[in-house]
Symmetry: C2
Subunit: 360 residues, 2 copies
């Protein structure tokens, strides 16, 4: 087991990474305010891992209720959030009940926002079960739900007490989910660590085959990068925004297709390819860099072009993105492979060229 810390003063917390951690409830019990937890999970994860977690907690004398949601990004909405509130109230959960998210990014975002807002905030723990959640969404306290007019528009910054990343559970991930997680893995390298990009180029097939040491290394390196960025800028007033590389385009794609058509990581992959292309057209990176990025994404079985949405519609969706300020679109662009920066004032014609659908 490896343990990192997200250094956030009084809100600092550990991330434990290793195979088989799900069965070790003693990693969780020191963080409970009382021996009572509510586990939020979904219909896909529950049959696989809920018993393992609940048996481990019961063995430590912890009372547990479970809330099993439908699976999918389309359920990241108010109606599902309300199901969590209803269950917590019906079971008389109080301010010292700990809410545990057992699942991927959708479960973590929903459960985290429920924890942030139930009785104005109850203790929260992340047990991510997808690669995407282990390397990205479970760390840093972003929680929320989608609004018909935009992704993650309603939410809160709310940090967990501990993150438990059991890399053994990644073996049951469908290949498409694994690839979607690799999009965020590749993102961490592209914006911050050129050497990690080179490592990914050498080890991508191992990751696709769920090779244990390779997965453990990738998860740890991404968590290190993310923890450092979050510690520097918890509420995204500066450097943290660079973690949104590919997300301005990606969110517009998800919203334009309808939530759940593409996985978040797939939309981010296409968004990164578009952001790389925009960086090239602005003269920041070379055509060979774009090709190198696209090649890596393709090897991970990820799309490198948007799925044929009209450019005008994408622009409209991007205009409500959270990164917009004073009506101006802002983009995370690459200065080189391994370094990103935030830019606005991108010429409209360059943007149009990048938005146009092409065969990927």
């Amino acid at each position: 087991m490896q343990t990192l810390r997200v250094e956030l003063g009084e809100r600092a917390y550990p991330i434990h990474i290793g195979a088989g951690l799900l069965a070790d409830a003693r990693l969780l019990t020191p963080h409970l305010a009382q021996p009572r937890v509510a586990v939020v999970t979904n219909t896909t994860v529950a049959p696989l891992y809920l018993a393992r977690l609940s048996d481990a907690l019961h063995a430590q004398g912890v009372e547990l209720i479970s809330i099993v949601l439908e699976d999918g990004e389309r359920y990241k909405d108010w109606a599902t959030l309300n199901r969590i509130y209803d269950a917590l109230l019906e079971r008389r959960c109080d301010r010292k009940t700990t809410l545990i998210a057992l699942g991927g990014g959708v479960v973590g975002d929903l459960a985290g926002f429920a924890a942030a807002t139930y009785m104005r905030g109850i203790p929260f723990i992340q047990v991510p079960t997808t690669l995407l959640a282990q390397v990205d969404s479970s760390i840093g306290g972003k929680t929320g739900i989608n609004h018909p007019l935009g992704k993650n528009m309603i939410g809160a910054f709310y940090q967990p007490r501990v993150v438990l990343a059991d890399t053994a559970v990644l073996k049951t991930l469908p290949p498409r989910e694994l690839s979607a997680g690799l999009a965020e893995v590749i993102k961490h390298g592209l914006i911050r660590d050129q050497a990690f990009v080179a490592w990914l180029e050498q080890n991508l097939e191992k990751l696709l085959a769920c090779d244990e040491p390779a997965l453990a290394h990738a998860v740890r390196r991404c968590c290190e990068i993310k923890a450092a960025v979050v510690a520097e800028d918890e509420r995204e007033t500066g450097v943290r925004a660079l973690l949104n590389f590919g997300h301005t385009f990606g969110h517009a794609i998800e919203s334009g297709l309808g939530y759940g058509e593409w996985l978040h990581g797939e939309a981010v992959a296409a968004g990164m390819a578009m952001a790389a292309e925009l960086s090239r057209r602005l003269g920041l990176i070379a055509p060979a860099d774009v090709e190198r990025i696209n090649a890596l994404l393709r090897r991970a079985n990820l799309p490198v072009a948007q799925p044929g949405i009209a450019p005008a519609r994408l622009l409209e969706l991007m205009a409500v993105d959270k990164k917009t300020e004073g009506g101006r679109l802002r983009f995370v662009l690459l200065e080189r492979i391994g370094a990103a920066s935030m830019r606005d004032g991108v010429p409209g014609d360059l943007l149009q060229q990048v938005l146009a659908p092409r065969t990927g």
Copy 2:
């Protein structure tokens, strides 16, 4: 004008108190992240004060959109909150738009929760227009909405950047609203300041007549008490819970009657009378103290008994109160007039006697 500060480190903020402050937008502009605000108000307050505030802001070059909600506690729900989100998204408000609550407790709680959760948090300002909001709900960062199973069950702690309490607006308050505000004024004295209780006993008729110096004194003293308590315990893990004196009973009354039947302050008044009676039955205060409290509440035209709800129903509603821990009811009780404490383990028979309806 008098200015107090709520000392909360990096979240510290001023409270300005005085007659006519609504027209002085220069008290607000230093706190704006960009010259763009969204004012949330209701159909009662808008015709009275929205133009005054918006003219003042326009004169300072601030762009303003307004969101006018229905008036009443029954609208403190998800549907109304969503109206705020929709308006903010449709008008392309971004993370630097400041949300201003212009109204009473319901507007402040709704707008504050919208500000806490729109794009994971945007700047927020309180401009309270009722006595209750000026002395209590606008200070301290409690925001939220009601759930069918309990009052204020969904919410967040989210501090404003500044509170602007214009005491001149209290002159247009309906007498019933003024009395409801006096319930919270009396509460501040009962839990923390015996001398202020004595002052209230001498000046209650002046307050009921909207005497300007008397109102200014009462508002300032309550703000001082509340600011000190909040600074000591922002997230209500200790002393702040004493501000809930009368609220465990009061919330159950509001919920049992249906939100909006009684004003919040009216329910709190009856709840304080019940909590005083419970304190007496536990031997903490004398019968004469209970009489003194009830006399003051009656002079303020407030109820001193619950409105005939079955005790079993009240108990059921109290069991989901946020102050419950591990299934045990906890009560704020009076040690004496001017000092409160938190107690659990209240004998069931004593509680039953207090819950029984009586003629008030």
